[in-house]
Symmetry: C2
Subunit: 323 residues, 2 copies
């Protein structure tokens, strides 16, 4: 794979700026405290990779720009809302190095701000004027909430690769899927592209989350905004642990982790160091790369336009941001 310099953002730069404005319009001027909170949330946001997927996929299939921008804003708002409630549930005080709402506000104000961002997301999804998009939006919301509930109510039972796959679908892949499929749904006469686009989004989303999970082992705390091994510290087993166990089925710490036990800090440090220096990291990244390669293949029958090349480039970026 060739390295990427994230030029894929450039192709939809004006639309991305329109997405930013659209999201900011949502701050109700009657409530200065809410406006500040939403500005804070949006300013602390990431690279807008989900809206970029929607904008590139939709532009490739020639969906109308205004509805596409509305969809992209709805998706990023939904993503933002889930982060607000997530941080409250986890009691997280920082996200990407910025204090969470939760760290500054009461639970009540945090819940309501999340609800407000949800409501705006739903309103924007309805404003795309597509019932099919609305249905996908509602299904995605359901998948995300179901995933969080599984996580919260999980019992101390052996963790399985299937449960991991379900979790990363709910947490990440479902939104990427919505971004790509929803954009295709807005393009007239693109019925044949709906399913490839949905699968493209799914694959990119799974790869994105696998890379996130790998970064939890090999990233710099300053870069990922949290201590290394934070998943294991919370009793969450991710792909590198499963890959490691394939070769080292008798490692006692890994077996305890997979049995659903929360390990003490020193044992987590030890297990993280072991997995870090094992082949499990590369094997996990290989899986992410395979997902991205398959995603690129799915685009082959689609029009050979610059947006297609940009989507392929975006896939490369998703797996290279580890390095």
């Amino acid at each position: 794979m060739e390295p990427t310099t994230a030029t894929f953002f450039d192709l939809v730069r004006p639309q991305l700026q329109a997405v930013e404005s659209r999201m900011r319009q949502s701050a109700d001027p009657h409530h200065p405290a809410l406006e500040t909170a939403i500005e804070h949330l949006l300013a602390a946001g990431g690279k807008r990779i989900r809206p970029t997927v929607a904008l590139l996929a939709g532009s490739l299939l020639q969906a109308p720009d205004d509805r596409l921008v509305t969809l992209a804003a709805a998706i990023e708002m939904l993503h933002t809302a889930t982060l607000v409630h997530d941080d409250l549930i986890d009691g997280a005080l920082f996200r990407r190095g910025t204090p969470t709402l939760n760290a500054q506000w009461t639970a009540g104000a945090t819940v309501l701000t999340g609800d407000y961002v949800f409501a705006r997301a739903a309103q924007m999804a309805a404003q795309t004027g597509s019932l099919a998009v609305m249905e996908s939006f509602a299904r995605t919301l359901m998948a995300i909430v179901n995933g969080e509930i599984s996580q919260l109510f999980r019992e101390q039972v052996p963790q399985t690769l299937t449960a991991y796959q379900e979790r990363i679908y709910a947490k990440t892949a479902s939104l990427f899927e919505l971004a790509a499929e929803g954009a295709a749904l807005l393009a007239p006469g693109s019925a044949q592209a709906h399913e490839p686009m949905r699968r493209f989004g799914y694959n990119i989303g799974v790869a994105f989350q696998i890379v996130d999970d790998v970064l939890d082992f090999i990233g710099q705390p300053t870069q990922i905004g949290k201590p290394v091994g934070s998943d294991l510290r919370h009793g969450i087993v991710t792909l590198p642990v499963f890959k490691y166990l394939e070769q080292h089925a008798d490692d006692p710490l890994a077996r305890l982790a997979i049995a659903g036990q929360t390990l003490p800090a020193d044992q987590v440090d030890q297990l993280v160091a072991t997995i870090r220096s094992s082949s499990a990291i590369d094997e996990s990244l290989d899986e992410a790369r395979r997902m991205v390669d398959q995603a690129s293949d799915l685009l082959e029958p689609l029009p050979d336009r610059p947006e297609r090349a940009a989507l392929i480039d975006l896939g490369r970026y998703v797996v290279q941001r580890t390095l």
Copy 2:
């Protein structure tokens, strides 16, 4: 007005049972704790007055039964979700005499259960297959959340009748409006009925909330499930206070309340007793009755079917449940 025996429920009894099943289908069998929580929420639910409005309005205009049941379930689920987050925000431990989720669960589990019920409501709204319904649904969700935010972020400023009207719209009338208008939107060829139905729902909703606010002064604590005067105790000024001030502009306690001050308990008791024995109670109920009379008038041009009589009967019931 003739007394009512709430026979209006009978006309849509089978559909109301279908609504109950539809709402219960939403408990995800993979999470027993969630299923229990949702069963608890639904069992503690009220008389299903909002679904009944939707079912009667839709049946009158001959909307298809299955889509109507889906809409009615979506509306009651949305109502239920807002109560879950409300109780969390208020720290309420009881609702209608039953312990709240909030009293039994962590904030995280309560937030997620509310989110789950929201997500199911949105999914059902999408399943009505009507983009217009979906748009109304999203607008209503926005109105409700905005109202809660105004409430939470309110400053200690003089309280106005306009702010009161906005609050009862957000809190109650918006959902009744959605019930009546949404049902009309599902009826083919009923375009002329959309606006009268929307206004019917609005009026019934306003009357319903005024009666709730009156009951906070004159109800039995065992009947209303909370101590008398609980609004004033929380610094919330409702219609009876405004009506009382029209005649007693110089009452120092009422003036303090309307200035946005939270009164100590003994002063609240005193003000509640004064207002209770004043004409403000009857004047408030008169206003509710006027809203219901106007609502009945709005139905006059609509087909003379049993559902129309039942909707008029439902309006009477809304203002008589005080007695």
